[in-house]
Assembly symmetry: C2
Homo-oligomer: 428 residues x 2
């Protein structure tokens, strides 16, 4: 199968926007030029007036938590988590995870997201769901341990994490990748973290962490261990392989220096950090230092949606407001965070840019709505003015998954029906 | 003309959401009950699955600046304003204002906005444009004066302001109201401000001000006059009549106390304050004190769109992040700010709530999209999850102006064509 996207405005890796034709053979971009190609493609799509960007990468989420959307709004973090969220999570079944993930994918595809990095229960169910959807995802089995006596080799979570890796890494023609995960410093013991770190090193794996999300977490770690959460992970060998950290709101200068040195990625989750009152991550500082910062929505329970264009918009403006400097967080940085940086953190070097030889993960944004007129600066228009509803096509590995409100691989009505039914059971 | 909105989920003044029928006779709500009405209405609309809220009031904007959308992004405030915006504003014609305002109204109607408070050039053109659109607006001729020798009675701007008031206040069956306006403390002399204040008092007018938007403005006023901008206006008699102030980012405790005492309204513009690096207005504090706080988008040049749902979303979360308290800025407060408080600040006591006897300014939100499922808390869903694209109907004074992507009073294609043509001339 080959496809030609004709006459779109293509966002290029250097930040330029040019009217170009994109040829795609199977899952790879094989042509990119203003002139029409000589070869014939099976299908042609006229993309006049559409902005074509790399597919958005939601680099930190808990997809199935769509079923918990809106639960316990406006409570303190402790009440929200332990009185509202956890009791419902205890009731979640594998089938809930399937439909919650499907609902998340409906939402993500409709806002141009092609790939996500997830952290949640029943990841093998999520893996199967991702495989059949045509999307891409990095999944893991989160490891937690609260028992100081538990040995790493006895951890059921670690056994599950390894089984998941052995069973699913590279599944779905490489669309599913399996990462490892320690949920957070404050939810895991040193012994279990160290044991998992050894496995990650041996497997050359990728480690997904929650890091310094709240001031309390960061401060209490220093009080308990005499070091920051990042340094705690480092000292246990958890940063010997590739790793990326969600939130990073309270990281210290030394933490950032270590992240830069080791090539540790950060995932910025602006909505969640604001809504839960966690604070403002030092994102421009990290970017200036050369740390790879990606963007994520976090789960729908703390967001309350999975709209990457909204995260791009927020990341574009909140740091100006917080620092008093309107010149920071430029559109080119934001777009890179939402695309290429996310792809690299996922270990997908062949995605995240529109270029010959790259995988064809592409989102199209229709620039015709009144709120996008006139267009004097396309990247600014995307970051400051565009809405998820302007996304008119989402493609992963050269396959159209969403177009003009229609889903090509997911049964919207069945999923919405099942999600409502699941929610009724969970809340009654 | 009468119309019945059947079986919608109606957001009531006390924050409850109930499945009700809304009957509208001419421009007034004459029926509100779960039971079907006995009388017959000319038209019936099934609103099952739709949330019906009061029409949103954009309480501070510069509508025609849609033509300057995206100009000079990511510059310092001074460079942005004086090197990019002002030179283009100098070229704006009356016809530009007409089409810029029409473009703004396309955008505003599509996100459920029924009324706006504007501050810009050629307000008589804006007035005519508003009248033919069916929307509502409070307009003014902004007064500025940089010449210390200028006397109030010689101010051409004040003469224009009075002529506008005499010519248009109450026009369009009351849909157009004329306010007075001093652009800001730093752009007007004491003599001219005092002279205008006398006129506003005499006419029992409503005064629209920019106030303490930036730290620089606030501090320099104190350095120059030994008092805050609010106190400066007060001492000149400008707060003897009704008044409302946009931004209020840097207002002092004493300023807020004075605002409360005098019943001065505040308009919060979160996107603009963030994007321009102005800071975080003390909104929850003002609400707690009993100050009437409304919401606005500011102009599209500093936003860069006119999406009131986006402002509601931002106002819901940014103050949590800034104060570290996730329990503040509850959905009921946010919805009141975006509806009833805006209406009251506009002097429209008969709008902004869905109740028998009120004017029928109503927006309908379709709750069927995946990002609105499941619905465990409707007001939270509106503030945290909904998008402008979920708005499916906008009605002012009982007249449908926008429905399912179609405009009933505005010619979308003609306006978009003319806006693009105007932008080409302005930027070449």
């Amino acid at each position: 199968m080959s496809i030609l996207l004709k006459n779109g405005l293509v966002y290029l890796p250097d930040g330029a926007v040019e009217k170009l034709n994109i040829g795609i053979e199977s899952e790879i971009i094989d042509y990119l030029a203003a002139a029409a190609p000589e070869r014939k493609y099976d299908e042609e799509k006229d993309m006049s007036g559409k902005l074509l960007i790399p597919g958005l990468v939601n680099a930190h989420t808990h997809a199935a938590m769509t079923l918990l959307r809106g639960v316990g709004s406006d409570l303190s973090l402790q009440e929200w988590l332990f009185e509202e969220i956890v009791p419902i999570e205890d009731k979640l079944t594998a089938d809930n995870i399937r439909v919650g993930t499907e609902l998340a994918m409906l939402e993500m595809l409709a806002c141009g997201t092609t790939s996500f990095s997830d952290m949640y229960f029943f990841p093998e169910v999520t893996a199967e769901t991702v495989i059949s959807s045509g999307m891409k995802a990095n999944l893991n089995r989160p490891v937690q341990s609260f028992d100081p006596a538990e040995k790493g080799e006895d951890s059921r979570r670690i056994k599950e994490a390894v089984a998941l890796y052995d069973g699913y890494d590279g599944a779905g023609d490489g669309r599913v990748k399996i990462d490892f995960c320690v949920h957070a410093e404050y939810t895991c013991t040193e012994a279990v973290t160290r044991y998992l770190a050894d496995i990650v090193r041996e497997k050359k794996g990728n480690l997904h962490l929650h890091l310094s999300e709240t001031e309390k977490e960061h401060r209490e770690c220093i009080e308990k261990y005499g070091r920051t959460p990042l340094r705690w992970f480092y000292d246990l060998g958890a940063l010997d392989s590739r790793a990326f950290c969600a939130h990073c709101v309270w990281v210290s200068e030394e933490d950032m220096e270590l992240m830069r040195e080791l090539g540790i990625g950060a995932v910025h989750n602006p909505t969640s950090n604001l809504k839960l009152g966690s604070g403002f991550a030092p994102v421009q500082k990290m970017l200036d230092m050369g740390i790879s910062v990606a963007l994520g929505t976090d789960g729908a329970s703390s967001n309350n949606n999975l709209n990457m264009l909204e995260e791009m918009h927020l990341a574009s403006i909140i740091h100006n407001g917080y620092t008093g400097d309107p010149t920071i967080m430029k559109p080119s940085s934001i777009i890179r965070m939402a695309t290429r940086n996310g792809a690299l953190i996922q270990g997908r070097a062949d995605t995240g840019e529109i270029e010959v030889g790259m995988r064809a993960d592409i989102a199209a944004i229709d620039l015709s709505a009144p709120h996008l007129r006139p267009n004097v600066d396309t990247p600014a228009l995307l970051c400051y003015s565009a809405q998820a509803s302007d996304v008119c096509m989402t493609m992963a590995d050269g396959r159209v998954l969403y177009e003009n409100g229609e889903y090509l691989t997911l049964d919207r009505e069945r999923i919405l029906f099942e999600a409502e039914r699941a929610a009724k059971r969970l809340y009654n």
